[in-house]
């Protein structure tokens, strides 16, 4: 096992948890990315637009700060596979594949009421049956999808 990758994973996971706890402690809200961002874009809710927008700005500034800090220190602060100096990895496919994947992720999280953060982190931490069922479902389907694309039709690539 790659110990450095594991430690990075744990530290990052705890920070994601602290974000969820902070949002509940201050604003009383679930830290679900699909809920926060789809709410910002598809619904008009004047009392919530400002914090949703600043949450989004924080979300994109986190990796940016690590990129700047890392290049200042001459050290990689991310956890990109085989590229320790980088913080953000390359997309796994071209534009066509990503158009399809985006539509599935958008529609799926929209009708399913959450994603890896809302169901996977916050919902599981609340021991919500709906979130546990959703999380098991999307994890298993994603594993099956990777199996099909990489091993069944992908020629073992």
């Amino acid at each position: 096992m790659d110990v450095t990758a594991t430690i990075h994973g744990l530290i990052g996971g705890v920070l994601i948890g602290l974000s969820a706890v902070w949002l509940m402690a201050t604003l009383g809200r679930i830290a679900g990315i699909s809920g926060i961002l789809s709410g910002l874009l598809t619904r008009s809710s004047p009392g919530d637009s400002a914090w949703r927008l600043t949450f989004f700005l924080g979300l994109i500034s986190g990796p940016l700060i690590l990129m700047l800090l890392g290049s200042g220190l001459g050290e990689g602060l991310g956890n990109v596979v085989n590229a320790p100096a980088k913080v953000i990895g390359e997309p796994a496919g071209g534009i066509g594949l990503m158009l399809l994947a985006g539509l599935l992720v958008g529609v799926g999280t929209g009708i399913g009421g959450g994603c890896t953060s809302g169901h996977g982190v916050c919902g599981m931490a609340r021991l919500s049956t709906r979130s546990i069922v959703a999380t098991v479902t999307f994890l298993l389907v994603a594993m099956l999808t990777v199996y099909v694309t990489r091993h069944a039709i992908g020629g073992g690539a």
Binding site: I60, L64, A92, G112, V141, M143, V146
Partner: protein, 137 residues
């Protein structure tokens, strides 16, 4: 004040995703590829986040109300329905194809690429589409 609290939450989230490597689709797909060279990192990310949130929520939800809002807004539904499971399944296919769930996709804007632009555009389109679908399934 709400905006500042939201910014801090987003910043912690973005730092967490980037430090853990969730902004690298190869890291995520390596976890989902259970029949290949399996990468367990994501389990530690999810585990660290769930345990921290589990403990933190128990401390926070003892209070009468949040610091800068009227009350805690928690989901109350308990039923399992077709929308929940069907939605999670569609999301799983998209996640498995791309290695991006919504958080990492948006958090990766600092390293934007044409395929990521394409994915963000149809993801947002998908959110609008989901709102048009009938409420029962």
């Amino acid at each position: 004040m709400k905006a500042l609290m939201g910014y801090i939450a987003g910043l912690l989230f973005g730092l967490g995703l980037a430090i853990s490597g969730m902004t690298d689709p190869a890291r995520v797909l390596g976890f989902l590829d259970v029949a290949g060279a399996w990468d367990p990192t994501l389990i530690f990310v999810l585990g660290g986040a769930v345990v921290t949130t589990f403990i933190g929520y128990r401390l926070v939800l003892r209070r009468d109300r949040p610091l800068v809002a009227q009350g805690f807004q928690l989901p109350t539904r308990r039923d399992l329905d077709g929308r929940l499971i069907g939605g999670a399944a569609l999301f799983g296919i998209g996640w498995g194809l791309s290695g991006y769930c919504p958080g990492p996709a948006f958090a990766s804007i600092a390293g934007i690429t044409p395929p990521l632009v394409a994915m963000l555009a149809t993801m947002i389109g998908g959110w609008f589409l989901a709102r048009k679908l009938p409420a029962k399934a």
